[in-house]
Symmetry: D2
């Protein structure tokens, strides 16, 4: 499996009047985790789109364990557990500054050829970069 880490700082605009991060903004944090995960691997999501491949989301799941609060510098641990084919699943664990696991999520995406609009295999370079992690 492939595991990576990044951080995200909670913005004021992401809190709600309960004083916590609004439940709908975690998907943005997943995106940060996913995108930095790909960048660290060596193929940015932007580069992927430039190669003519998009990654729309098929399914998303979230588990809210404890609230994230304003200005917290959250650690996002992003994991690709299974070797991706036409579909790829990312799992996320969010930790607050005290090191407490506060949130879990997972997102299933599908590689889509921009021109045909149809599901496709990821670019060869992506397989090559991931290969060492799935032996």
């Amino acid at each position: 499996m492939y595991v990576s880490q990044t951080q995200v700082r909670v913005r004021y605009g992401e809190t709600d009047q309960m004083g916590y991060v609004y439940y709908g903004f975690y998907a943005m944090y997943y995106e940060v985790g996913r995108v930095e995960s790909m960048r660290q691997l060596g193929l940015s999501y932007k580069a992927l789109e430039d190669m003519g491949v998009m990654l729309p989301v098929l399914e998303n799941k979230s588990k809210y364990i404890a609230p994230a609060v304003y200005d917290d510098l959250l650690k996002i641990v992003t994991t690709i557990r299974e070797k991706p084919g036409v579909r790829i699943k990312f799992e996320y664990e969010l930790f607050n500054e005290a090191g407490k696991l506060i949130h879990q999520g997972e997102t299933l995406l599908v590689f889509v050829d921009k021109k045909s609009g149809k599901p496709c295999r990821p670019p060869h370079v992506f397989d090559v970069l991931l290969e060492p992690f799935f032996k």
Copy 2:
């Protein structure tokens, strides 16, 4: 079970460069479905908070069947299938203007007493209003 309907118009700021509604903004649409569902029942979410009860989210699931696009007037069908106790689950089905089911979601929330911060039973009036739908 209790079923209600409302509508939401897709905003430009909710689309992304793929030309679809960004996957993270559906949670906002669920909120619209949930809030209007409670208003139609007779107890607005705002009134609930004024009674000293909050409804933070515990779990959320989303299934993206087909993309929503800019300016679509989406129909949101919101369902409470099981009689709520300390927890309440809302299910959502989103239909585009052509009547096609494009999205399914569900959110599990918990009634929390604002003062104690602890899970609690919903206010009695909520039970009374829901009762006819769970005979």
Copy 3:
């Protein structure tokens, strides 16, 4: 001048921990005002884009008079004061349910030809529709 009205309901996710609508979300409300203004005139923004014309924003100004709060059904009064040329300015006034003016904004946009990426005149139909209001 051309004046139109619409409404927008404040969403929970639009509030912040101050208990008010986050200052950054008013631009979304302006968009609602602007888009419904054009729809009521007879040419939706979506139709405009389908004709090959985009309307990117050049300038934006906001004046926060009093806070908007959760679940408020805001009235948005949108005004086009000057006959638009290559540029078009929309002004907004937001009123809360008590009828109090709580916010003022204005947005300057430019008609851009999608193909050339250059500023252009609005489609003829737009001029025709606006003409009665600028005699």
Copy 4:
């Protein structure tokens, strides 16, 4: 005057179907500039709120010079030009990775005592920290 710098990475969810950052999300970038500016000075915005002082926004202005695009690592230069009293003005300049100035903004905020809800002087420590920059 007091000048500071920080960076923000454009998220996918912040783009719209024009392929640019949606005009409404720049206010979030201003917030990042403002908050990091205060943190670098030595008094975080969070600490300010913990001292019982809020900073709601009174006015906001934006000038869109060139679009920001997905995944750009924007440089935000934040300036406090005038010594703040009860009100404080922040100015922002956004540069893309090519070093081009793409956006200018300014935000006027007011110090408000949380308890009384009335405008107030900033905490003494804030004046002390800013003093060297306004001699």
